[in-house]
Amino acid sequence: MIEYWNPQIERMHVDELQELQEQKLKELVHYVYQHSPFYRKKFDDASVKPEDIKTLDDIKKLPFTYKKDLRDTYPTGMFCVPNEQLVRFHVSSGTTGKPTIVGYTKNDIYQWSLSLARALTSIGVGRSDVMQISYGYGLFTGGLGMHYGAEEVGSTVLPTSAGNTEKQLELMQDLGTTVLACTPSYMLFMNEAAKQAGISLKNDTKLRIGVLGAEPWSEEMRTRIEDLTGIKAYDIFGTSELSGPLFTECTYQDGIHIWADQFLVEIIDPKTGESVSDGEQGELVITTLAKEALPLVRYKIGDLTVKTSEVCKCGRTHPRIMRVLGRVDDMLIIRGINVFPGQIESVLMNIPEVGEHFMIIVDRVNELDTMKVQIEMTDAAFSDKVNDIISLEKRVASSLKSVLNLAVKVELVENGSLPRSMGKSKKVIDNRKR
Protein backbone atom coordinates (compact mmCIF):
# COMPACT_ATOMS: atom_id res chain seq x y z
CA MET A 1 0.00 0.00 0.00
CA ILE A 2 1.65 3.20 -1.17
CA GLU A 3 1.04 6.25 1.00
CA TYR A 4 0.79 9.76 -0.43
CA TRP A 5 0.83 13.07 1.40
CA ASN A 6 -1.35 14.69 -1.22
CA PRO A 7 -2.56 12.05 -3.69
CA GLN A 8 -4.53 14.54 -5.83
CA ILE A 9 -1.42 16.55 -6.60
CA GLU A 10 1.16 13.78 -6.55
CA ARG A 11 -0.82 11.56 -8.96
CA MET A 12 -2.29 14.36 -11.07
CA HIS A 13 -2.45 13.57 -14.76
CA VAL A 14 0.65 14.84 -16.57
CA ASP A 15 -1.41 17.08 -18.89
CA GLU A 16 -3.16 18.71 -15.96
CA LEU A 17 0.17 19.19 -14.20
CA GLN A 18 1.53 20.98 -17.24
CA GLU A 19 -1.51 23.23 -17.41
CA LEU A 20 -0.95 24.06 -13.79
CA GLN A 21 2.72 24.80 -14.45
CA GLU A 22 1.86 27.00 -17.41
CA GLN A 23 -0.54 29.01 -15.31
CA LYS A 24 1.99 29.38 -12.51
CA LEU A 25 4.80 30.29 -14.88
CA LYS A 26 2.74 33.11 -16.36
CA GLU A 27 1.96 34.40 -12.88
CA LEU A 28 5.63 34.13 -11.92
CA VAL A 29 6.99 36.25 -14.77
CA HIS A 30 4.46 39.00 -14.03
CA TYR A 31 5.25 38.76 -10.33
CA VAL A 32 9.04 39.05 -10.67
CA TYR A 33 8.80 41.75 -13.32
CA GLN A 34 6.65 43.79 -11.01
CA HIS A 35 8.44 43.16 -7.70
CA SER A 36 12.09 42.68 -8.55
CA PRO A 37 14.11 45.47 -10.17
CA PHE A 38 16.74 42.85 -10.83
CA TYR A 39 14.42 40.70 -12.94
CA ARG A 40 12.81 43.70 -14.62
CA LYS A 41 16.25 44.72 -15.87
CA LYS A 42 17.19 41.16 -16.78
CA PHE A 43 13.99 40.73 -18.81
CA ASP A 44 14.40 44.15 -20.43
CA ASP A 45 18.00 43.37 -21.36
CA ALA A 46 16.80 40.17 -23.00
CA SER A 47 13.93 42.07 -24.69
CA VAL A 48 11.31 39.82 -23.19
CA LYS A 49 8.09 41.01 -21.58
CA PRO A 50 5.92 38.97 -19.20
CA GLU A 51 3.19 39.01 -21.86
CA ASP A 52 5.50 37.08 -24.20
CA ILE A 53 5.20 34.02 -21.99
CA LYS A 54 2.00 32.30 -23.11
CA THR A 55 2.90 28.63 -23.05
CA LEU A 56 5.33 26.43 -21.12
CA ASP A 57 7.49 26.27 -24.19
CA ASP A 58 7.96 30.05 -24.08
CA ILE A 59 10.20 29.57 -21.05
CA LYS A 60 13.03 29.36 -23.59
CA LYS A 61 12.65 33.07 -24.19
CA LEU A 62 13.57 33.83 -20.59
CA PRO A 63 17.15 34.52 -19.52
CA PHE A 64 18.95 32.24 -17.09
CA THR A 65 19.68 33.20 -13.48
CA TYR A 66 23.12 32.37 -12.12
CA LYS A 67 24.58 31.92 -8.66
CA LYS A 68 26.72 34.95 -9.53
CA ASP A 69 23.53 37.05 -9.73
CA LEU A 70 22.80 36.25 -6.09
CA ARG A 71 26.33 37.23 -5.11
CA ASP A 72 26.29 40.41 -7.20
CA THR A 73 23.07 41.53 -5.54
CA TYR A 74 24.27 40.58 -2.03
CA PRO A 75 22.64 40.65 0.41
CA THR A 76 19.00 40.98 -0.59
CA GLY A 77 18.98 42.70 -3.98
CA MET A 78 16.92 39.99 -5.68
CA PHE A 79 14.19 39.75 -3.05
CA CYS A 80 10.62 40.40 -4.18
CA VAL A 81 9.09 41.24 -0.80
CA PRO A 82 9.77 43.92 1.81
CA ASN A 83 11.36 42.98 5.12
CA GLU A 84 7.99 42.99 6.94
CA GLN A 85 6.97 39.88 5.03
CA LEU A 86 10.16 37.93 5.70
CA VAL A 87 10.17 35.46 8.56
CA ARG A 88 13.63 33.96 8.12
CA PHE A 89 17.06 34.19 6.51
CA HIS A 90 19.41 31.36 5.69
CA VAL A 91 23.00 31.94 4.60
CA SER A 92 24.99 29.60 2.37
CA SER A 93 28.47 28.63 3.47
CA GLY A 94 30.13 30.66 0.73
CA THR A 95 33.06 28.32 0.21
CA THR A 96 33.62 29.66 -3.29
CA GLY A 97 33.10 33.36 -2.66
CA LYS A 98 30.68 35.65 -0.92
CA PRO A 99 27.86 33.84 0.85
CA THR A 100 24.39 33.91 -0.65
CA ILE A 101 21.42 35.02 1.41
CA VAL A 102 18.03 33.39 1.05
CA GLY A 103 14.89 34.94 2.57
CA TYR A 104 11.57 33.26 3.29
CA THR A 105 8.02 34.45 3.78
CA LYS A 106 5.73 32.47 6.04
CA ASN A 107 4.27 30.81 2.98
CA ASP A 108 7.73 29.99 1.61
CA ILE A 109 8.48 28.07 4.80
CA TYR A 110 5.14 26.31 4.52
CA GLN A 111 5.66 25.33 0.88
CA TRP A 112 9.11 24.04 1.78
CA SER A 113 7.63 21.92 4.57
CA LEU A 114 4.99 20.58 2.19
CA SER A 115 7.59 19.55 -0.36
CA LEU A 116 9.44 17.62 2.33
CA ALA A 117 6.25 16.19 3.78
CA ARG A 118 5.45 14.64 0.41
CA ALA A 119 9.04 13.41 0.05
CA LEU A 120 9.21 11.90 3.54
CA THR A 121 5.85 10.19 3.07
CA SER A 122 7.13 8.71 -0.18
CA ILE A 123 9.96 6.94 1.68
CA GLY A 124 7.62 5.64 4.33
CA VAL A 125 8.22 8.16 7.11
CA GLY A 126 5.14 8.91 9.17
CA ARG A 127 3.66 9.80 12.52
CA SER A 128 5.07 6.77 14.32
CA ASP A 129 8.64 7.61 13.38
CA VAL A 130 11.27 9.26 15.54
CA MET A 131 13.43 11.32 13.25
CA GLN A 132 16.86 12.33 14.43
CA ILE A 133 18.03 15.35 12.49
CA SER A 134 21.79 15.43 12.46
CA TYR A 135 22.16 18.06 9.79
CA GLY A 136 23.54 21.27 11.19
CA TYR A 137 20.95 23.66 12.61
CA GLY A 138 21.55 27.33 12.03
CA LEU A 139 22.44 29.31 8.95
CA PHE A 140 22.64 26.08 6.95
CA THR A 141 19.25 25.02 5.57
CA GLY A 142 19.68 21.31 6.33
CA GLY A 143 18.71 21.17 9.98
CA LEU A 144 15.80 23.60 10.18
CA GLY A 145 14.50 22.61 6.74
CA MET A 146 14.24 18.94 7.63
CA HIS A 147 12.87 19.88 11.02
CA TYR A 148 9.82 21.67 9.62
CA GLY A 149 9.24 18.93 7.04
CA ALA A 150 9.39 16.18 9.64
CA GLU A 151 7.01 18.04 11.96
CA GLU A 152 4.61 18.59 9.06
CA VAL A 153 4.53 14.83 8.51
CA GLY A 154 3.93 14.35 12.20
CA SER A 155 7.05 12.40 13.09
CA THR A 156 8.71 13.09 16.40
CA VAL A 157 11.76 15.21 15.82
CA LEU A 158 14.96 14.73 17.77
CA PRO A 159 16.86 17.89 16.81
CA THR A 160 20.40 16.79 17.60
CA SER A 161 22.13 18.84 14.91
CA ALA A 162 25.58 17.64 13.85
CA GLY A 163 28.29 16.60 16.28
CA ASN A 164 28.51 15.15 19.79
CA THR A 165 28.29 11.68 18.32
CA GLU A 166 28.39 9.81 21.62
CA LYS A 167 25.26 11.64 22.76
CA GLN A 168 23.63 11.08 19.38
CA LEU A 169 24.11 7.33 19.73
CA GLU A 170 22.84 7.29 23.29
CA LEU A 171 19.67 9.21 22.39
CA MET A 172 19.20 7.09 19.27
CA GLN A 173 18.97 4.02 21.47
CA ASP A 174 17.06 5.56 24.37
CA LEU A 175 14.42 7.30 22.27
CA GLY A 176 14.17 4.67 19.56
CA THR A 177 15.19 6.73 16.54
CA THR A 178 13.86 5.13 13.36
CA VAL A 179 14.93 7.74 10.81
CA LEU A 180 18.28 9.48 10.67
CA ALA A 181 18.79 12.57 8.52
CA CYS A 182 22.42 13.54 7.94
CA THR A 183 25.17 13.62 5.35
CA PRO A 184 26.37 10.25 4.05
CA SER A 185 29.76 11.09 5.58
CA TYR A 186 28.24 11.54 9.00
CA MET A 187 26.28 8.32 8.63
CA LEU A 188 29.57 6.48 8.07
CA PHE A 189 31.19 8.33 10.95
CA MET A 190 28.34 7.44 13.26
CA ASN A 191 28.52 3.83 12.22
CA GLU A 192 32.23 3.74 13.03
CA ALA A 193 31.70 5.46 16.36
CA ALA A 194 28.91 3.02 17.19
CA LYS A 195 31.12 0.08 16.37
CA GLN A 196 33.85 1.41 18.62
CA ALA A 197 31.33 1.79 21.44
CA GLY A 198 30.19 -1.80 20.92
CA ILE A 199 26.84 -0.76 19.42
CA SER A 200 25.56 -2.31 16.23
CA LEU A 201 23.31 0.11 14.34
CA LYS A 202 21.78 -2.94 12.69
CA ASN A 203 20.96 -4.90 15.83
CA ASP A 204 20.97 -2.50 18.75
CA THR A 205 18.88 0.37 17.35
CA LYS A 206 15.50 0.75 15.68
CA LEU A 207 17.05 2.71 12.83
CA ARG A 208 15.43 1.75 9.52
CA ILE A 209 15.74 4.75 7.21
CA GLY A 210 18.49 7.23 6.38
CA VAL A 211 17.70 10.51 4.63
CA LEU A 212 21.12 11.33 3.30
CA GLY A 213 22.32 14.27 1.27
CA ALA A 214 23.92 17.73 1.22
CA GLU A 215 26.91 16.21 -0.57
CA PRO A 216 27.16 14.03 -3.67
CA TRP A 217 27.31 10.27 -3.06
CA SER A 218 27.24 7.34 -5.38
CA GLU A 219 24.98 4.34 -5.85
CA GLU A 220 27.89 2.15 -4.76
CA MET A 221 28.21 4.13 -1.53
CA ARG A 222 24.49 3.58 -0.94
CA THR A 223 25.00 -0.16 -1.20
CA ARG A 224 27.87 0.05 1.29
CA ILE A 225 25.87 2.10 3.77
CA GLU A 226 22.83 -0.15 3.51
CA ASP A 227 24.96 -3.27 4.01
CA LEU A 228 26.88 -1.79 6.94
CA THR A 229 23.95 -0.34 8.83
CA GLY A 230 20.93 -2.37 7.78
CA ILE A 231 18.94 0.74 6.86
CA LYS A 232 17.34 1.84 3.61
CA ALA A 233 19.32 4.86 2.49
CA TYR A 234 17.53 7.55 0.48
CA ASP A 235 19.02 10.44 -1.39
CA ILE A 236 17.70 13.89 -0.60
CA PHE A 237 18.23 16.79 -2.95
CA GLY A 238 17.94 20.52 -2.77
CA THR A 239 19.99 23.63 -2.55
CA SER A 240 19.70 26.67 -0.32
CA GLU A 241 18.82 29.00 -3.22
CA LEU A 242 15.67 26.93 -3.86
CA SER A 243 14.92 26.87 -0.08
CA GLY A 244 17.06 23.95 1.13
CA PRO A 245 16.56 20.18 1.13
CA LEU A 246 13.35 19.61 -0.83
CA PHE A 247 13.10 16.34 -2.74
CA THR A 248 13.87 12.66 -2.23
CA GLU A 249 13.53 9.43 -4.07
CA CYS A 250 10.56 7.23 -3.24
CA THR A 251 10.86 3.68 -1.92
CA TYR A 252 11.69 2.49 -5.45
CA GLN A 253 14.96 4.45 -5.29
CA ASP A 254 14.64 5.27 -8.95
CA GLY A 255 15.21 8.99 -9.29
CA ILE A 256 14.33 12.04 -7.24
CA HIS A 257 10.76 13.33 -7.54
CA ILE A 258 10.65 17.06 -8.28
CA TRP A 259 7.23 18.45 -7.38
CA ALA A 260 6.04 20.00 -10.61
CA ASP A 261 3.42 22.26 -9.02
CA GLN A 262 6.23 23.97 -7.09
CA PHE A 263 9.21 23.73 -9.40
CA LEU A 264 9.74 23.54 -13.13
CA VAL A 265 12.68 21.39 -14.23
CA GLU A 266 14.63 21.80 -17.45
CA ILE A 267 17.71 19.89 -18.51
CA ILE A 268 19.81 21.82 -20.97
CA ASP A 269 22.92 21.31 -23.02
CA PRO A 270 25.51 23.38 -21.10
CA LYS A 271 27.12 24.53 -24.35
CA THR A 272 24.10 25.55 -26.40
CA GLY A 273 21.54 26.27 -23.67
CA GLU A 274 18.99 24.21 -25.63
CA SER A 275 16.97 21.63 -23.73
CA VAL A 276 17.93 17.99 -24.17
CA SER A 277 15.58 15.01 -24.40
CA ASP A 278 14.57 12.82 -21.49
CA GLY A 279 17.32 10.36 -20.68
CA GLU A 280 20.09 12.59 -21.97
CA GLN A 281 22.57 14.10 -19.57
CA GLY A 282 22.58 17.85 -19.23
CA GLU A 283 22.66 20.71 -16.80
CA LEU A 284 19.82 21.11 -14.33
CA VAL A 285 17.85 24.36 -14.55
CA ILE A 286 15.02 25.03 -12.11
CA THR A 287 12.33 27.69 -12.03
CA THR A 288 10.48 28.19 -8.77
CA LEU A 289 6.70 28.30 -9.19
CA ALA A 290 5.58 28.86 -5.61
CA LYS A 291 8.21 31.02 -3.92
CA GLU A 292 7.44 34.57 -2.80
CA ALA A 293 10.53 36.11 -1.22
CA LEU A 294 13.18 34.91 -3.62
CA PRO A 295 11.65 33.40 -6.74
CA LEU A 296 14.17 32.24 -9.31
CA VAL A 297 13.67 32.10 -13.07
CA ARG A 298 15.64 29.44 -14.93
CA TYR A 299 18.20 29.10 -12.18
CA LYS A 300 21.34 27.24 -13.26
CA ILE A 301 22.31 25.17 -10.24
CA GLY A 302 25.27 23.62 -12.00
CA ASP A 303 24.36 19.97 -11.43
CA LEU A 304 24.71 17.51 -14.25
CA THR A 305 21.87 15.03 -14.34
CA VAL A 306 19.30 13.16 -16.41
CA LYS A 307 15.55 13.68 -16.30
CA THR A 308 12.70 11.30 -16.87
CA SER A 309 9.04 12.23 -17.26
CA GLU A 310 7.80 8.65 -17.10
CA VAL A 311 5.27 7.97 -14.39
CA CYS A 312 7.09 6.28 -11.50
CA LYS A 313 6.23 2.78 -10.28
CA CYS A 314 4.95 4.45 -7.11
CA GLY A 315 2.26 6.19 -9.17
CA ARG A 316 3.64 9.70 -8.84
CA THR A 317 3.46 11.61 -12.09
CA HIS A 318 5.98 14.35 -11.35
CA PRO A 319 9.27 14.36 -13.24
CA ARG A 320 12.28 12.68 -11.72
CA ILE A 321 15.95 13.48 -11.95
CA MET A 322 18.53 10.77 -11.54
CA ARG A 323 20.87 11.05 -8.57
CA VAL A 324 23.25 13.93 -8.95
CA LEU A 325 26.85 12.77 -8.95
CA GLY A 326 28.42 16.16 -8.91
CA ARG A 327 28.20 19.82 -9.58
CA VAL A 328 30.08 21.43 -12.39
CA ASP A 329 31.89 23.35 -9.61
CA ASP A 330 33.22 20.06 -8.19
CA MET A 331 34.55 18.85 -11.51
CA LEU A 332 38.31 18.49 -11.71
CA ILE A 333 40.12 18.94 -14.95
CA ILE A 334 43.22 16.77 -14.91
CA ARG A 335 45.40 17.00 -17.99
CA GLY A 336 42.36 18.07 -19.94
CA ILE A 337 40.19 15.20 -18.76
CA ASN A 338 37.03 15.90 -16.76
CA VAL A 339 36.86 13.99 -13.51
CA PHE A 340 34.05 14.00 -10.94
CA PRO A 341 34.89 12.86 -7.42
CA GLY A 342 31.68 10.79 -7.64
CA GLN A 343 33.16 8.69 -10.44
CA ILE A 344 36.12 7.87 -8.24
CA GLU A 345 33.82 6.98 -5.35
CA SER A 346 31.85 4.62 -7.60
CA VAL A 347 34.98 2.76 -8.65
CA LEU A 348 36.39 2.52 -5.13
CA MET A 349 33.16 1.31 -3.52
CA ASN A 350 32.98 -1.51 -6.06
CA ILE A 351 36.23 -2.96 -4.71
CA PRO A 352 35.43 -4.87 -1.51
CA GLU A 353 38.92 -4.43 0.00
CA VAL A 354 38.63 -0.65 -0.16
CA GLY A 355 37.16 1.11 2.89
CA GLU A 356 34.56 3.88 2.82
CA HIS A 357 36.95 6.81 3.18
CA PHE A 358 39.16 8.28 0.52
CA MET A 359 40.94 11.48 -0.41
CA ILE A 360 41.80 12.83 -3.84
CA ILE A 361 44.96 14.90 -4.02
CA VAL A 362 45.69 16.87 -7.15
CA ASP A 363 49.05 18.49 -7.77
CA ARG A 364 51.07 20.00 -10.53
CA VAL A 365 54.54 18.56 -10.89
CA ASN A 366 56.78 19.90 -13.66
CA GLU A 367 53.83 21.52 -15.41
CA LEU A 368 51.96 18.23 -15.40
CA ASP A 369 48.80 17.53 -13.41
CA THR A 370 48.97 14.50 -11.14
CA MET A 371 46.24 12.81 -9.21
CA LYS A 372 46.70 10.66 -6.17
CA VAL A 373 43.94 8.76 -4.43
CA GLN A 374 44.48 7.77 -0.82
CA ILE A 375 42.50 4.86 0.55
CA GLU A 376 42.63 3.28 3.96
CA MET A 377 44.08 -0.12 4.75
CA THR A 378 41.25 -2.14 6.25
CA ASP A 379 41.52 -5.23 8.43
CA ALA A 380 39.92 -7.23 5.64
CA ALA A 381 42.44 -6.12 3.03
CA PHE A 382 45.56 -6.36 5.15
CA SER A 383 48.23 -8.84 4.22
CA ASP A 384 51.67 -8.78 5.77
CA LYS A 385 53.26 -9.51 2.40
CA VAL A 386 54.46 -6.31 0.73
CA ASN A 387 53.64 -7.66 -2.72
CA ASP A 388 50.00 -8.22 -1.81
CA ILE A 389 49.64 -4.59 -0.78
CA ILE A 390 51.40 -3.27 -3.84
CA SER A 391 49.23 -5.42 -6.07
CA LEU A 392 46.09 -4.11 -4.34
CA GLU A 393 47.27 -0.55 -5.04
CA LYS A 394 47.88 -1.48 -8.65
CA ARG A 395 44.52 -3.16 -9.00
CA VAL A 396 42.71 -0.08 -7.66
CA ALA A 397 44.78 2.19 -9.91
CA SER A 398 43.95 0.16 -12.99
CA SER A 399 40.22 0.13 -12.16
CA LEU A 400 40.36 3.91 -11.83
CA LYS A 401 42.30 4.23 -15.05
CA SER A 402 39.81 2.17 -17.00
CA VAL A 403 36.96 4.46 -15.93
CA LEU A 404 38.70 7.85 -15.88
CA ASN A 405 41.13 7.21 -18.72
CA LEU A 406 43.78 8.77 -16.53
CA ALA A 407 46.79 7.43 -14.67
CA VAL A 408 46.17 7.66 -10.94
CA LYS A 409 48.58 6.91 -8.14
CA VAL A 410 46.90 4.94 -5.38
CA GLU A 411 48.32 5.12 -1.89
CA LEU A 412 47.21 2.99 1.02
CA VAL A 413 47.22 4.85 4.32
CA GLU A 414 46.48 3.72 7.84
CA ASN A 415 42.95 2.91 8.86
CA GLY A 416 41.30 5.93 10.49
CA SER A 417 43.89 8.38 9.22
CA LEU A 418 41.78 10.16 6.59
CA PRO A 419 39.55 12.97 7.89
CA ARG A 420 36.05 12.05 9.05
CA SER A 421 33.25 14.56 8.66
CA MET A 422 30.11 15.36 10.61
CA GLY A 423 28.80 17.58 7.84
CA LYS A 424 29.79 18.04 4.25
CA SER A 425 33.00 16.14 3.71
CA LYS A 426 35.97 17.41 1.79
CA LYS A 427 37.22 14.71 -0.54
CA VAL A 428 39.52 16.72 -2.77
CA ILE A 429 42.72 18.63 -2.05
CA ASP A 430 43.69 20.57 -5.14
CA ASN A 431 47.16 21.96 -4.59
CA ARG A 432 47.17 23.59 -8.04
CA LYS A 433 44.94 26.38 -6.82
CA ARG A 434 47.52 27.74 -4.38
Binding site: M377, D379, F382, D384, V386, I389, L412, V413, E414, N415
Partner: protein
Protein backbone atom coordinates in the same frame (compact mmCIF):
# COMPACT_ATOMS: atom_id res chain seq x y z
CA UNK B 1 53.07 -30.23 15.41
CA UNK B 2 50.63 -27.32 15.54
CA UNK B 3 52.29 -26.16 18.76
CA UNK B 4 55.37 -25.38 16.70
CA UNK B 5 53.60 -22.60 14.87
CA UNK B 6 54.44 -19.10 16.03
CA UNK B 7 51.95 -16.24 15.99
CA UNK B 8 53.77 -13.29 14.53
CA UNK B 9 52.30 -9.81 14.89
CA UNK B 10 52.12 -7.99 11.54
CA UNK B 11 51.16 -4.37 11.33
CA UNK B 12 50.57 -1.84 8.57
CA UNK B 13 52.26 1.48 9.11
CA UNK B 14 52.65 4.61 7.07
CA UNK B 15 56.24 5.60 6.55
CA UNK B 16 56.12 8.58 8.89
CA UNK B 17 58.15 9.72 11.84
CA UNK B 18 56.79 8.77 15.23
CA UNK B 19 54.99 5.64 14.04
CA UNK B 20 57.48 3.23 15.56
CA UNK B 21 57.50 5.15 18.81
CA UNK B 22 53.76 4.82 19.03
CA UNK B 23 53.87 1.07 18.41
CA UNK B 24 56.59 0.62 21.00
CA UNK B 25 54.86 2.67 23.67
CA UNK B 26 51.63 0.73 23.21
CA UNK B 27 53.51 -2.52 23.73
CA UNK B 28 55.38 -1.14 26.72
CA UNK B 29 52.17 -0.12 28.41
CA UNK B 30 50.81 -3.64 27.93
CA UNK B 31 54.04 -5.12 29.27
CA UNK B 32 54.68 -7.00 26.03
CA UNK B 33 58.26 -8.02 25.36
CA UNK B 34 59.55 -8.06 21.78
CA UNK B 35 61.73 -11.05 20.88
CA UNK B 36 62.35 -10.33 17.21
CA UNK B 37 61.47 -7.40 15.06
CA UNK B 38 61.77 -6.30 11.44
CA UNK B 39 60.32 -3.70 9.12
CA UNK B 40 59.65 -4.36 5.46
CA UNK B 41 59.79 -0.94 3.91
CA UNK B 42 57.99 -0.21 0.65
CA UNK B 43 57.98 3.48 -0.17
CA UNK B 44 55.02 5.18 1.46
CA UNK B 45 54.30 2.38 3.86
CA UNK B 46 55.99 -0.36 5.77
CA UNK B 47 54.98 -3.63 7.36
CA UNK B 48 56.20 -4.18 10.86
CA UNK B 49 56.65 -7.82 11.80
CA UNK B 50 57.49 -8.97 15.26
CA UNK B 51 57.61 -11.99 17.47
CA UNK B 52 56.55 -11.18 21.01
CA UNK B 53 56.03 -13.08 24.24
CA UNK B 54 52.27 -12.36 24.39
CA UNK B 55 50.91 -12.10 20.83
CA UNK B 56 47.22 -12.00 21.79
CA UNK B 57 47.78 -9.11 24.20
CA UNK B 58 49.92 -7.30 21.63
CA UNK B 59 47.27 -7.79 18.96
CA UNK B 60 44.46 -6.41 21.05
CA UNK B 61 46.39 -3.42 22.39
CA UNK B 62 47.57 -2.41 18.92
CA UNK B 63 44.15 -3.01 17.38
CA UNK B 64 42.51 -0.88 20.04
CA UNK B 65 45.07 1.84 19.37
CA UNK B 66 43.72 1.95 15.81
CA UNK B 67 46.41 0.02 13.96
CA UNK B 68 45.62 -2.42 11.20
CA UNK B 69 47.21 -5.49 12.68
CA UNK B 70 47.04 -9.23 12.19
CA UNK B 71 48.43 -12.41 13.64
CA UNK B 72 50.34 -14.36 11.03
CA UNK B 73 51.43 -17.97 11.33
CA UNK B 74 55.19 -18.34 10.89
CA UNK B 75 57.84 -20.89 11.81
CA UNK B 76 60.72 -20.40 14.23
CA UNK B 77 63.53 -22.61 13.06
CA UNK B 78 66.52 -23.31 15.24
CA UNK B 79 69.91 -22.80 13.65
CA UNK B 80 73.24 -23.59 15.16
CA UNK B 81 75.04 -20.28 15.43
CA UNK B 82 77.74 -21.42 12.96
CA UNK B 83 78.34 -20.86 9.25
CA UNK B 84 76.26 -23.02 6.90
CA UNK B 85 73.20 -23.43 9.12
CA UNK B 86 70.97 -21.26 6.96
CA UNK B 87 71.83 -23.13 3.82
CA UNK B 88 70.76 -26.44 5.34
CA UNK B 89 67.31 -25.07 6.08
CA UNK B 90 66.98 -23.33 2.73
CA UNK B 91 67.98 -26.52 0.94
CA UNK B 92 65.37 -28.61 2.72
CA UNK B 93 62.57 -26.19 1.91
CA UNK B 94 63.79 -25.65 -1.65
CA UNK B 95 63.99 -29.37 -2.39
CA UNK B 96 60.32 -29.66 -1.50
CA UNK B 97 59.23 -26.63 -3.51
CA UNK B 98 58.22 -24.70 -0.45
CA UNK B 99 58.61 -21.00 -1.10
CA UNK B 100 59.82 -18.59 1.57
CA UNK B 101 57.68 -15.43 1.50
CA UNK B 102 60.04 -13.67 3.86
CA UNK B 103 62.51 -14.49 6.62
CA UNK B 104 64.51 -12.79 9.33
CA UNK B 105 66.82 -14.11 11.99
CA UNK B 106 67.91 -13.29 15.48
CA UNK B 107 70.37 -14.66 17.96
CA UNK B 108 69.16 -15.78 21.36
CA UNK B 109 71.06 -15.83 24.64
CA UNK B 110 71.89 -19.50 24.07
CA UNK B 111 74.08 -20.79 21.27
CA UNK B 112 71.24 -21.21 18.79
CA UNK B 113 69.98 -18.59 16.42
CA UNK B 114 66.33 -18.46 15.36
CA UNK B 115 65.16 -18.06 11.82
CA UNK B 116 61.60 -16.76 11.52
CA UNK B 117 60.05 -17.67 8.15
CA UNK B 118 56.72 -17.29 6.50
CA UNK B 119 56.24 -19.95 3.86
CA UNK B 120 53.53 -20.57 1.30
CA UNK B 121 52.75 -24.04 2.69
CA UNK B 122 53.23 -24.17 6.43
CA UNK B 123 51.95 -27.73 6.94
CA UNK B 124 54.38 -29.24 4.46
CA UNK B 125 57.19 -27.11 5.82
CA UNK B 126 56.57 -28.47 9.32
CA UNK B 127 56.73 -32.01 7.99
CA UNK B 128 59.85 -31.72 5.85
CA UNK B 129 61.79 -29.81 8.48
CA UNK B 130 60.99 -32.37 11.13
CA UNK B 131 61.93 -35.21 8.75
CA UNK B 132 65.27 -33.48 8.26
CA UNK B 133 65.72 -33.37 12.04
CA UNK B 134 65.64 -29.59 12.13
CA UNK B 135 64.19 -28.26 15.40
CA UNK B 136 61.43 -25.73 15.60
CA UNK B 137 60.42 -23.57 18.52
CA UNK B 138 56.85 -22.94 19.60
CA UNK B 139 55.09 -20.11 21.41
CA UNK B 140 56.02 -21.53 24.82
CA UNK B 141 59.71 -21.46 23.87
CA UNK B 142 59.35 -17.87 22.68
CA UNK B 143 57.78 -16.87 25.98
CA UNK B 144 60.60 -18.52 27.85
CA UNK B 145 63.43 -16.80 25.97
Amino acid sequence: MEDKIIKQISLFSENKSGKLASIASNLTSANVNIRAFTIAEAGDFGIVRMVVDKPDVAHSVLHNAGFTVSETSVLGIEMADVPGSLSVIADVLGEHNINIDYAYAFVTKSDVALLIVRVDDIKSALKVLSNANISLVGMSDIEAI
